[in-house]
């Protein structure tokens, strides 16, 4: 898990999802105040769920409010702030 975090930290994302932990429940999708989180339609994880993600073009809009982290039942979100 630590590996995933480190790899994505380099990519300068504000919200990082541990995709193998995510169960695609969509609670973060609904709670996001800027509505940029979505379930990835193009891939599934090992358990067959569509993981949550923020598309690269929307990364700038993230305000690091941590609401998605708060609601995530599987604690798979890490939030960074600039």
């Amino acid at each position: 898990m630590a590996e995933v975090k480190d790899k994505t930290e380099v990519q300068n994302k504000k919200m990082v999802v541990d995709e193998e932990r995510c169960k695609g429940c969509g609670l973060c999708v609904n709670v996001c105040p800027v509505e940029i989180i979505e379930n990835a339609e193009d891939r599934i994880n090992q358990n067959g769920y569509h993981p949550a993600e923020i598309k690269p073009e929307n990364q700038d809009k993230c305000t690091s409010c941590t609401q998605c982290y708060q609601i995530c039942p599987d604690v798979c979100i890490t939030v960074y702030k600039e």
Binding site: K23, G24, T66, Q70, I71, P73, V75, V79, Y80
Partner: protein, 249 residues
């Protein structure tokens, strides 16, 4: 340079939760783990896991854990706390465990004012065994054992454990919180933090009832279940602090 503002707490192991997608057990696990992190008590905490969906809680909390038989977590926690009065002891129980088979244990542990903290997850249904009617099931709520909805004449009224225990003299802090949105999750964490703090100060029994969801057995989507909780459960189980010894005088 990016600064980390929220991440996986140290007091949870790296094991993936087995809970269904959208189940709020995970949120409560995180809150308890974060409090252990903040108070720096991971190494001195002993948790007692129940029987129910959260039976595997001992795999997830990275502190010492003990498994109790069904409903007996407060009795086991009493023993642990009396042998190790310097340790923090908490039980993590569901509504089938605490409000049904374990009613006697919780009532007497609370009445004796045992210096333990109970985290009580109320999702108005038996989750692990496949959605049977629980003592906390709402009037008219359909479950596998109440297919026409809970009939109060046959099955009695939904039991309000928090109100019940708050009239006893033993407890120090009893509150009901919810985890259906980030605002309420923050309030839930505040209540849990206070419960652990009071235990550390040796003030007595503390219990936090957390209104929780069960999308799988309620038969609705995760997001809809949060809305269902707010619309139907909160009027029956009002959120409040029911007992707080720090409020007196």
């Amino acid at each position: 340079m990016m600064e980390k503002v929220a991440s996986y707490p140290d007091s949870l192991t790296e094991k993936k939760f087995h809970y269904c997608p959208g189940c709020t057990h995970g949120i409560v696990h995180r809150l308890v783990a974060e409090i252990m992190d903040e108070m720096g008590i991971k190494e001195e905490t002993i948790g007692v896991a129940p029987v129910g969906c959260s039976v595997l809680a001992y795999d997830y909390f990275d502190c010492d854990m003990h498994e109790a038989s069904h409903g007996r977590a407060p009795a086991v926690a009493t023993g642990i706390k009396r042998v190790h009065p310097d340790k923090m002891v908490f039980t993590y129980q569901g509504d089938g465990d605490l409000a049904s088979i374990g009613t006697a244990e919780i009532v007497h542990a609370a009445n004796r004012g045992e210096n333990i903290t109970t985290v009580f997850i109320n999702n108005a249904i038996y989750g692990m065994t496949g959605g049977q009617m629980a003592p906390t099931t709402l009037e008219g709520q359909k479950t596998t054992t109440s297919p026409y909805g809970r009939n109060l004449k046959e099955a009695g009224n939904p039991i309000r454990m928090t109100e019940m225990l708050s009239v006893l003299d033993g407890p120090a802090f009893i509150a009901r919180v919810s985890v259906h949105d980030p605002k309420h999750i923050r309030q839930a964490k505040k209540a849990l933090r206070k419960a652990f703090r009071l235990q550390k100060e040796g003030k007595g029994f503390t219990m936090i009832e957390v209104l929780s969801t069960c999308p799988t057995n309620w038969g609705i989507k995760p997001q809809e279940s949060l809305e269902w909780l707010e619309e139907y459960m909160m009027p029956v189980y009002p959120l409040d602090v029911y007992k707080d010894i720090e409020e007196v005088e």
